[in-house]
Each structure stands twice: as structure tokens, then as C-alpha cells.
């Protein structure tokens, strides 16, 4: 019998689990799932060398290991820090972490155009989720936001640098999936940009995957731009025989019409491995050209997390939760995201609208 592998015990937000040596804190937290998983904007488990850049996944290490229980002096990037045996990590139970994360989200948003109403990524945007959870209701940034012209990278992909958060995921994708390096980062600091030097087409069978890895709406599918909102489309799993890729995709349909084809994603928004265990990257033919239902064998509806806006209107595979609230939270106190009364312009507790004998007018809300 093979010798039993020694597993590392790691405690994240008071939940103790055993993980294999060499696992990062983030991946350990992902095995627990739920609130204790730090958000990740730049880390992508399928891309080598990614992570460590966005700083949203910062966590506090309260004890380094059993051998050396000193806490780490700074917050660490959980995606690039490996667990040690007996490590104690604090994520949402640490005020320092929440404070730093709020700061990072604010930094990410100061130069983001916040054009969600016209952005194709809205509804499946990681930055949108993150700012709902950690952002402030107003901005303290009073200056002109950074902006760039839109650039076409070939006839199928559009790059809108204004929305980019410089996570480097697309650079790693292009580096690792395609033979020739064609795009990278130009300039530095807050004027750094993803570019192809001279506006060059990206031509590779797999370059379309940069759209899937982009956490924001900086890289968009030109065959889908402005065609529909993602929450009006229904995602279904489908496959076809493709001689280039695994051929397993998600079709985003409305009625009988296929609006968009993407690779299948897991609960962390990353591309899933195919059922044969191969990487799930899909080729440009499948992504951009096969837009008929007749091209595909449809397997059935995709499971969408019921918290996602995409699931609104079509709650596929959802059962009413049976656990009690306390069981779900496992002894932790619930996280209050924001006080709706503080945020809303309309919901002011102290304004008694029923006292009015006429329809409410905007001036009624100005009363302090």
C-alpha cells in the first residue's frame, strides 16, 4: 500500500480542513466555499503565473504554522501563498482584511467607467459583484477618469481598455495557449495598457478565450456586442464534434436563437475541464461561427447559482433551501453588506410618506 500522504491542517475563518501540501490559501478556501472564499480578480487556476496582482484576495495569517506560530506581519495574497500545517487564516473575520479589500475595490473603481448599463459584461462581471459586496455607495474620486479608444483585435474581439483592471489574465492566456506572443502590456503605472503595439489582429484559433478569462467588460465578443443582456438569455450546455477543441460549450439562447457561445465555467467563473478531463478552452470556430441550434447537440440547461442575476426568471434546478439560517452560517454572525436605509435616496425611515395627502414629490425626500 502506498504511504499515506501527509495532509496539512489549515483553519480559515474558524473552519478547519485538511488540504494537500502545496495548496494555496485561496484554493483551500475554495474547497470550503461560500463566504470564506476570498474574491479573486486576477488569479486564474488554469493559467500559470497568474495572481498576486489585484490584491482583492488579501487575507490575514494569524498563525504561520504549528512549527512557527508567529503571525505574518502584512496581509498576504491568498492566491500566491501556500498553506502550512497548522496555519490559521482570517478572511471575513478580520477587520483589517475587510478594510484593505474595501480599499482595493475603491482603487479598482476610481478609473473604471461604471458604464454597466451599456456594458455587455454586466450580470456576469466579477468587478460588479465585488463592488456590490465591498464598494462604497459614492465615490471620493473627483477627477477625470482614465479613458482609451476602443480597439478591434481582429474582426471578432473588441478591446475597451477604459474598463480594464490590468489583471494580466488575457496576456497569460495568449502566452500559454497560442504559439506566438502578440499582445502584452505597454507603458507602466496608471497609464499602462493592454495592447498589440501596432493595432494588429490577433489571429489564432484559440484567441477567443481571452474574452472568457476577462473578469470585466474590457474584452468582448463582437458577434454578441449589444445583442442582448445576459440575464435575458438562457444558458444551456451543448456539444459538437470539433477537431480543434473539446467542443463542449455553453450556448446562451433566447427562444430558438443562439446569441453567444462560451466555454463552460465553474462556480468561480473559471473555465471547467471537459468531461474527458482535457482543458475546456474552446476554439474560435465553435465560439464565433456556430450560431445555429442545428450545429449543436443540446444537453440541457446549465445550473446557474440562484444568487446570480442570470438565474432570474428561469430558476433551473433550484430547490428551496431546507437548512436553517444558523446552519448555513455555521455559527458565524451574518455579514451585513449595507444598510439599505443609509444608501437609498427614497427609503428614508424618518420620512413618513403616508402622512401626505398627495402623490409624493422629489422635494418631500429633501427634508432632513
Amino acid at each position: 500500500m502506498a504511504e499515506e500522504k501527509k495532509l496539512f491542517k489549515v483553519t480559515i475563518d474558524n473552519i478547519t480542513i485538511d488540504v494537500e501540501p502545496g495548496t494555496s490559501i485561496l484554493n483551500a478556501a475554495r474547497t470550503i466555499g461560500g463566504d470564506v472564499t476570498p474574491p479573486a480578480m486576477c488569479y486564474y487556476s488554469k493559467l500559470q503565473g497568474s495572481g498576486g496582482k489585484c490584491r482583492t484576495c488579501l487575507v490575514e495569517v494569524a498563525a504561520g504554522s504549528t512549527a512557527d506560530p508567529r503571525p505574518m506581519p502584512k496581509l498576504v495574497a491568498s492566491c500566491r501563498t501556500n498553506v502550512m500545517d497548522g496555519m490559521v487564516v482570517k478572511n471575513i473575520t478580520s477587520e483589517k482584511v475587510i478594510d484593505a479589500r474595501n480599499g482595493v475595490v475603491e482603487f479598482l473603481l476610481i478609473n473604471h467607467p461604471l458604464d454597466c448599463p451599456i456594458c455587455d459584461q454586466a450580470g456576469e462581471c466579477h468587478l460588479q459583484d465585488l463592488s456590490y459586496e465591498h464598494g462604497k455607495e459614492g465615490t471620493r474620486y473627483e477627477f477625470k477618469r482614465r479613458s482609451f479608444d476602443k480597439v478591434d483585435l481582429g474582426d471578432k474581439i473588441q478591446l475597451h481598455m477604459t474598463r480594464c483592471i490590468l489583471c494580466y489574465r488575457c496576456v497569460f492566456t495568449a502566452d500559454q495557449l497560442t504559439a506566438k506572443r502578440e499582445h502584452g502590456i505597454l507603458d507602466r503605472g496608471d497609464h499602462a495598457q493592454i495592447a498589440t503595439m501596432i493595432q494588429k489582429n490577433l489571429q489564432n484559433d484559440f484567441i477567443g478565450n481571452v474574452i472568457d478569462v476577462c473578469p470585466v467588460g474590457a474584452l468582448t465578443d463582437k458577434t454578441f456586442r449589444f445583442k442582448n443582456r445576459v440575464w435575458f438569455t438562457k444558458p444551456v450546455d451543448a456539444h459538437r464534434n470539433c477537431n480543434k477543441c473539446c467542443g463542449e460549450v455553453q450556448l446562451w439562447m433566447r427562444g430558438e436563437e443562439v446569441f453567444r457561445v462560451t466555454a463552460r465555467k465553474d462556480e468561480w467563473g473559471e473555465i471547467k475541464d471537459s468531461t474527458q478531463g482535457k482543458p475546456g478552452w474552446i476554439c474560435n470556430d465553435c465560439r464565433f461561427d456556430k450560431k445555429e441550434t442545428s450545429d449543436w447537440v443540446i444537453e440541457g440547461p446549465t445550473k446557474i447559482d440562484r444568487h446570480s442575476v442570470i438565474s432570474q426568471g428561469h430558476y433551473v434546478g433550484v430547490t428551496k433551501p431546507t437548512e436553517t439560517f444558523n446552519a448555513v452560517h455555521n455559527g458565524r454572525s451574518p455579514k451585513l453588506l449595507m444598510d439599505i436605509h443609509d444608501v437609498s435616496e427614497v427609503n428614508k425611515q424618518h420620512i413618513e410618506l403616508s402622512a401626505l395627502n398627495r402623490p409624493a414629490h422629489s422635494t418631500d425626500f429633501d427634508k432632513k
Binding site: R55, I185, H191
Partner: protein, 449 residues
């Protein structure tokens, strides 16, 4: 007179050339080193208590002993000559006038660490120094101090000079390594540290020019003798590049036993404040370290005399102290405006941020814009608190120390000169016409009994 160890022969005519350098006792350290075992040299450096002269002040001997030594994998020594900290120009002086001292130190350190290929990564703006260094390397080669089988010891070593392209970030050791490999100079995410995985994924030691040059006197006089210079854990001599409103700006070698007051006012060193003005503030260790007002510079908060040592300069933490840093001593007189000065630094860090991690990329730009508003009379009182909040959220949350380096000067300026910022905000028109002046910054401190 302070003791000169590094710059002892700097003023000698022709010391830049091999013959003169050799005549004045050059390369004796190499001769001595090759009679020792490599590990004994590391021990000797440990005994000397030499601390990194690039800014962080990490014990050099300790850093050398951390170097991983796996079988069959080459090890590299890299000399960090990417001296780009505003206010620091000590390495430039050393390399320009005593190139052989650096080469000698590099040969000794290469032998101690087992590096057969040693690199000098020099900042691109020091173009003429590249020629000086390459000429020195050629001379050392011609005289058998470099190349194959040096002095019949069986040890091969070659030194290469690589020019950077003028980026401050490439002074950070992992960004330097990336740049040396021919990539974009982005700092790497640590761990792994360069001592395990550095240049071309091999164990690497990156040391500052002055640190490596200091290895020569350590070998010549012995580690214990070297450790006798200085106070406490600040051993040896330090090059200080003094600039700003002083009578005698320049590079000075100090043994770390003198007080800041002596350094600033004695005729041997800075010679006092220029034009008979009064001292307002000073940055004692290069632009990244916290600025100190006059009353905290000469005396610590406890009322003790502040000395030019690592410990004394950082006495009181960041609340009332600063850092030795890289030794860029920047002096501001009563006519200088701290807000304008902070804006200049913020603009520098915004320009030099690599843009890899979000707090530094976005935060440095934001701080510069707010400071610009305050400086040009468009600021609000809330901006000062906002600045404080931004620097707090950058510090410690970035990949490399550039984020900290950008946050500290702003934090210290607000901490010690808050009334000057408020005066700027409250008197937007007057602040365009005149400076806040000396105010009370030189007043004696109320020492807590």
C-alpha cells in the same frame, strides 16, 4: 576627522586606473580571499555586522548565508547599481571614481558565494559610468583578476555590465532580475525569494554597490576590526549623499558615530544651511523615507541627540522618527513648501509605479491629483483626510515596497506638517504668493517628563 574606509583613496590622481589602484593597496582583499574558504568569507562578513546599504539595512552576512546551494545549479551574484532614489547619488560617486573598488568587492563576493557569472545592473542614465566600469573590468581581466582559474585557485569568474532602461522600479531586486532576463521590469511575487529562485530561476544574491565595495575593507582589516567602527548594530562607514539647501552638497563618508547636528552644521560635512537660512525639514535617507521637521531631526522625541545611525534615525518609529534608507540626505530650508515638495515626490512615484498591482497603480495617481489640487489652491479640508486614508490603504498591501515608498512621504508630510496643508487649503490665494515659512517646526519640543 571621521574615519575613511571606502573613499580613502578617492582623491588620488588616476585611482580610476588599475596601476594606481594596485599601487595603493588594491586587490589585496582578493589575494587574501583566495587563501580562505568561501564560507569563512561569509562568516567574516557576518562578524563585521555589515548591513545592506541599498535602503532596507538587512544584514549582508545573513543574506549571503540564506543562499540556497543545490547541486549542479549555477548561482549568481547581481550588483544593484540601479540607483534611482531621488536624492541618492552615492553609488554613482563610488563607481565613477573607484570602479576597481567595486570590481574587487565583486570578485571577493563572487568567490564567497560561488558565482561564476556576476552582473552589474546599472541604471541607463549612468551611461558614461558603463564605460568606466567596462574599462576597469578589461584591466582586471588583463591582469588576471578575472577570467578562468583566478590566481590558480581553480575559480572562474566573469563580470558583465548590463544597462537598465531608466526605471525606478528596476531597483527592486526581483524587478531587477526580470529586467536582467530581458523581460518587462515587473516585481515578482514573493515567495520564492531570489535566494532560492532568482535570475533564470537559480539562487541569486542581489546587493547594493556600496555593500559590495564595503566587503573589501572588511577583508583587509578583518570583520571584527570593521565592527568596531560605529555604534551598536550600525557598524562601519556609510556614504551619505547630501543635497538640498546646504552649503556643501556632495557625497560624504561617515563612520556612524556622529550626530545629525554635526553632520549638518560642521564644516567637514554639509557646512550648515545655505544663505544663512534656517533649517525647516529634512529627509534623512532618500525620498522614500518619512520627512522630519527640524525639531525632530536633531533631537528624538525623548530629547536625546539623534545620531547618524540606523537605530537612532528610526528612533520613535514612523510617528517621530525616520529611516537611514539609502543615505540620500535632502535638506529643506525655511523657504521651501512642504506641500509642493510632497507633490513632487508623489508625481515621481506615480510616474514610476509599474502598474502591476491595483493599490499602487491607482493610489499613486490619485494622491498626485489631490496634492496638485491642494498645491494650486483648489483643495478642500476633507482632501487631507482623504490623502491620509489613501496612503493607509496603499501601505503594506502591494507586491513590492514601491507602494510603501509612495505612501510614507505623504503620510509623514501630513503627520508633521498638517497645519501647512490646512493653511494651503484655507488660504488658496495667499498660498500661491508666498510659502508657509518656518512656522513652529524648529521650536523646541515639549519633552514629556
Amino acid at each position: 576627522m571621521g574615519r575613511k574606509v571606502l573613499l580613502e583613496h578617492a582623491k588620488i590622481e588616476g585611482i580610476r586606473y588599475y596601476d594606481t589602484y594596485r599601487k595603493h593597496g588594491g586587490y589585496t582583499a582578493v589575494e587574501k580571499a583566495f587563501k580562505m574558504a568561501p564560507n569563512d568569507i561569509v562568516e567574516e562578513v557576518k562578524k563585521s555586522g555589515l548591513r545592506g546599504r541599498g535602503g532596507a539595512g538587512f544584514p549582508t552576512g545573513m543574506k549571503w548565508s540564506f543562499l540556497a546551494k543545490p547541486e549542479g545549479v549555477p548561482r549568481y551574484l547581481v550588483c544593484n547599481a540601479d540607483e534611482s532614489e531621488p536624492g541618492t547619488f552615492k553609488d554613482r560617486y563610488l563607481m565613477e571614481f573607484l570602479p576597481h573598488l567595486l570590481i574587487e568587492g565583486l570578485i571577493v563576493a563572487s568567490y564567497a558565494l560561488g558565482s561564476n557569472r556576476t552582473y552589474i545592473y546599472i541604471r541607463g542614465e549612468y551611461a558614461w559610468i558603463v564605460d568606466i566600469l567596462e574599462q576597469a573590468i578589461d584591466e582586471a581581466n588583463a591582469n588576471g583578476w578575472l577570467g578562468k582559474n583566478i590566481l590558480g585557485s581553480g575559480f572562474d569568474c566573469q563580470i558583465y555590465v548590463q544597462r537598465g532602461a531608466g526605471a525606478y522600479i528596476c531597483g527592486e531586486e526581483t524587478a531587477l532580475i526580470e529586467s536582467l532576463e530581458g523581460k518587462r521590469g515587473n516585481p515578482r511575487i514573493k515567495p520564492p525569494f531570489p535566494a532560492v529562485k532568482g535570475l533564470w530561476d537559480c539562487p541569486t544574491v542581489v546587493n547594493n554597490v556600496e555593500t559590495l565595495a564595503a566587503v573589501v575593507p572588511i577583508l583587509n582589516m578583518g570583520g571584527e576590526e570593521y565592527a568596531k567602527i560605529g555604534i551598536g548594530r550600525s557598524t562601519g562607514t556609510k556614504l551619505i549623499s547630501a543635497c538640498g539647501n546646504i552649503n556643501k552638497p556632495g557625497v560624504y563618508e561617515i563612520d556612524m558615530t556622529i550626530s545629525v547636528e554635526e553632520f549638518l552644521y560642521s564644516d567637514e560635512y554639509c557646512g550648515g544651511i545655505a544663505n544663512g537660512k534656517k533649517l525647516k525639514a529634512c529627509i534623512p535617507g532618500g525620498s522614500s523615507v518619512p520627512i522630519l521637521p527640524a525639531n525632530l531631526l536633531l533631537k528624538t522625541a525623548k530629547g536625546e541627540t539623534r545620531m547618524m545611525t540606523y537605530e537612532s534615525l528610526s528612533d520613535g518609529g514612523f510617528a517621530t522618527g525616520s529611516m537611514m534608507g539609502s543615505g540620500g540626505f535632502i535638506v529643506l530650508d525655511e523657504d521651501q513648501c512642504v506641500v509642493h515638495h510632497t507633490l513632487t515626490l508623489a508625481r515621481f512615484y506615480r510616474h514610476e509605479s509599474c502598474g502591476q498591482c491595483s493599490p499602487c497603480r491607482e493610489g499613486t495617481g490619485w494622491m498626485e491629483k489631490i496634492l496638485k489640487n491642494i498645491e494650486y489652491g483648489k483643495g478642500k479640508t476633507s482632501d487631507i483626510d482623504l490623502l491620509w486614508d489613501i496612503q493607509r490603504k496603499i501601505e503594506g498591501n502591494t507586491i513590492c515596497p514601491l507602494g510603501d515608498a509612495a505612501a510614507w512621504p505623504v503620510a509623514a508630510a501630513i503627520r508633521h506638517f498638517r497645519d501647512e496643508f490646512e493653511w494651503h487649503v484655507q488660504n488658496p490665494e495667499e498660498s500661491q504668493r508666498r510659502n508657509f515659512g518656518l512656522a513652529h517646526y524648529a521650536d523646541p519640543l515639549a519633552v514629556n517628563a
